[in-house]
Symmetry: C2
């Protein structure tokens, strides 16, 4: 049962894709076993931290041999859900939304954007890379047939609250929020904020102090 | 002197764009003063946290009146650097890199992508939305004339280490890393990781446990 999985802290989950990138490269190179020390040197993360992070996934290395590379890669992929199909709708297909639809990287990581929604009559009825664009107001009627549980929020910040509410009322279970707006909703909705503009602010600030 | 600014913790910087979005909306509505309690209710952040975050910027509210909206907006914009021009190069103009060049949102937040670099001969010599694309190998020769201190890393993960090194050796001061690769470099280089795929993993995980 997936629901019985233990709670893994967000910083640990955030490191797992680093380990995955590392072991995928090792497997491509034909390496069969890897120690947490070797991963540690590669990624500049404490070996004990790596062992702890992987223990959440019930992945344990063998003394003196380390982790089996293929098994570790499978375990990470399984846990991260990158090889499962997660259907999503794109709310707002302006510059960022259209860019994310066109980014084939997302589908490689399991995110399948099945439709876009926008208020712009010039966009409604068109397709972006084969993805149909519908009127925003049609989300409640179309959500279930699309099978999407995730909504990517890429609308202008002033519409974020209203669009988030529309999504939740339409049966969406998770909001991936690219706006700087702090969405509040019921506790059974998953919210993931990816405020790339906040990251820009952090980077500008750190540059100044160097 | 900008360099004498005090160190602001990353979570605080991450909240500032929320405040900015909120006060920009208030100013557009013609509101003149706002209390931290009102911002708190809007954003679901503790009023004391807001007051503390803003005190890093030397912005203090007046008793019973609160913050002057226009002044608060200016102070936030100033600190966040969104209205300054930060020249950047895009390393890798595949799906994500091209998408980020096309995202006009970045320039609204002060990031000016002046050129793209790629190894694909089909891309070199072309333009994306008016941005010229050069051969990756030309970065060392072109960096200074372009005036770019920031490199956005959007190459395939297996090239990330090599491309980061090329950037640093070419005089780049900050790397905005969109790959899941954990870049290691000298301490005077600013690294900002925006691993949107790691955010996907966190979202998938949280959805399962609900």
């Amino acid at each position: 049962m997936e629901n019985t999985e233990i709670y893994v802290p967000e910083p640990a989950i955030g490191r797992l894709p680093w380990y995955l990138a590392c072991v995928s490269r090792l497997r491509a190179q034909g390496v069969e076993y890897v120690s947490s020390t070797a991963i540690s040197q590669e990624l500049n993360v404490d070996a004990s931290q790596i062992a702890k992070d992987l223990s959440y996934l019930n992945i344990k290395g063998k003394t003196r041999i380390g982790y089996e590379v293929a098994q570790l890669e499978r375990g990470l992929l399984d846990f991260l859900g990158f090889h499962r199909d997660h259907k999503a709708v794109m709310m707002g297909v302006g510059s960022l939304g259209a860019a994310l639809i066109a980014d084939s990287g997302l589908s490689r990581y399991g995110l399948n954007i099945v439709a876009g929604f926008d208020v712009d009559p010039a966009l409604v009825g068109t397709e972006i890379d084969g993805t149909p664009i519908y009127d925003l107001a049609e989300l409640p009627a179309r959500r279930e047939a699309l099978g999407a549980e995730i909504a990517v929020i890429a609308v202008p910040v002033e519409s974020a609250a209203e669009v988030a509410e529309l999504c939740v009322n339409s049966g969406i279970k998770a909001l991936w929020n690219f706006t700087p707006f702090h969405i509040r909703t019921s506790p059974d909705i998953t919210i993931q904020n990816t405020s790339i503009y906040a990251h820009l602010a952090v980077m500008y600030n750190r540059m100044k102090s160097k």
